[in-house]
Point group: C2
Chain length 350, copies 2
Amino acid sequence: MGMVTMKHLAERLGVSVTTVSNAYNKPDRLSAELREKILATGGEMGYCGPDAAGRLLRRGKADSIGVYYGGGLSFIFQDPYASELMAGITEVLEETGHSLSLLATTASGTDDADLVRQAVVDALICLAEPGFHTPAMQAAVQRRLPIVYTHVVADEDIAYVGIDDHHAGLLIGEHLRELGHKRVGVITRSVLGEKLKKVSLESLQAHYRKHDSQFWLQRLMGILEGLGEGAEVQFAALPRSDAELGAAATARLLDSDEPPTALAALSDAIAMGVLDEVESRGLRPGVDVSVSGFDGLAIATARGLTTVTQPMRKKGRKAAMLAIDPERQPRQITLPVKLAARTSTGPAPR
Amino acid sequence: MGMVTMKHLAERLGVSVTTVSNAYNKPDRLSAELREKILATGGEMGYCGPDAAGRLLRRGKADSIGVYYGGGLSFIFQDPYASELMAGITEVLEETGHSLSLLATTASGTDDADLVRQAVVDALICLAEPGFHTPAMQAAVQRRLPIVYTHVVADEDIAYVGIDDHHAGLLIGEHLRELGHKRVGVITRSVLGEKLKKVSLESLQAHYRKHDSQFWLQRLMGILEGLGEGAEVQFAALPRSDAELGAAATARLLDSDEPPTALAALSDAIAMGVLDEVESRGLRPGVDVSVSGFDGLAIATARGLTTVTQPMRKKGRKAAMLAIDPERQPRQITLPVKLAARTSTGPAPR
DNA sequence: TTGTACGCGTTATCAT
DNA sequence: ATGATAACGCGTACAA
């Protein structure tokens, strides 16, 4: 009644388990007819090939790549940036016959570390959110699991595929400065859905430092540098990259005493909400108020959003290849970004 | 050099492996101080908890649920319906601390069956596309892996969470008939990206039968029944649920000699493209030509699309719960659908 | 070409 | 509270 194992099959046929094993794994190491017979009676007995667990223990290879996403796992399927990245990753995994293991962070939030420890994977791809010095990633390091980050990490031993976030931010900031914008609202993200009370540059810096999440900060600082000294900047920080939250933040910024003439969202997903709110007020993007995004989603193009584009799918592909083959060189890849100036930005009014 | 195991740790401390195991798994079965010491030197030696493979072999539980998607895996992240479903699934998995294993179909397409055989999972959720009698699913059955389908399966032994696709189609068909539409274009999907040459009702029926993919056919037949005898129906079948393909098909249908007065898309994702094409021709949806969808995506609501809504996220949640606890009753769940009549449909012109 | 014997790392059972 | 032992199912030297 229990599971049919190689042993059963071997006993039934009067051959050794080795031979049965070979029948499934090394066809050239036994006669074709014997192999045939073994496979046949195997099917008959309801044996369905070497057991995954046993084989795993013995071989030490899982043929599976893990993806660790510190935030809620369901957001991977909601956030367009993450989706594109995942699409790139899975493309490669399909080509190489690997599976993909999504590591869910436990609801209690207590120990993602345990999850990482128990994951049956050959390598880990870490999608943004919290950074390197997190317990989960430390567990992976301890397991000697190859890790690939999808953003730049300032440590030369660590493999990553990223973009130059500071430079990307710079492109946005300079673009807005050249258009004459002096009052700018920057809408960024907080890490792990945390809610920030007062959002100042200092509090943001502290927040990102705390979560060891450098790249949002890089973007932010890039924008500020690009805007130059004269600019007056207000901040908003959203717990998710989400259009609705983006719209709400926009409303707040536009309702302030001296509303910004430009709104820089740190993701296109957020920018979609910014455009929604702007348009719903009868304001014309690029004329009455300028709006910029970040990422280069297809949907952003459709709405004429000025943004910085990054090759998301390629990023995913490269990360997957690095995870599958940890020896691959180079192990630190920075992909190019490009400013896509479209209709949502224009000269500052007045 | 090699991996640090319980045995090493036990020898080093002069205790038994059992005790070490208990230190990690059954804290109440040994003194607090000994446990403390074990965990401490464990950390020191670079031991990072019970090995996943060993534990898996011994316990027979992987704490992981597999999702099998016959089409290309990367589409899971592109198709909004699948994304919603996955979001529901992952929500539950997060709550219960399970991982999610996405089973990629090999590029060669040859043996998904092997993939299923090797998957380290406790159960399988099967997302649409090909049906029950596929080699991959047979492999799962042989492994005695619990399977949950996300559509109705006509076999009382099989667990599923689905909707009444025929009824849903009926709602659309009747709606269009009541509005007086006599010439209707139906845009459906083919299975596994296959391209159909001539698209007739007969060829579609044969196609769906061949892939054991009943539910598209159910929707189709429901629509036809709802439209009644008098209707003249043209078909298009897309290899993917995709706006661009939907737009192209729409162009073809509208360019025919006697263009349809209504276009019924079998998914909202397709319907988005239909709306795009209709609008780009300067036609008014719901006035010059009626458009309907299927699923009830948020984005469809935003554009006033008449559609049949189904609780996608709930579907995912229920499927996950069923997969986690295969004893759960009932094992065959049919969720309700609702016609959402909005502005994209209206009386037939003339 | 086929078989023997052992180890992979863990946990359940039973004993102390 | 702690320990000894036996599986779990498979792969692989090594021997025949």
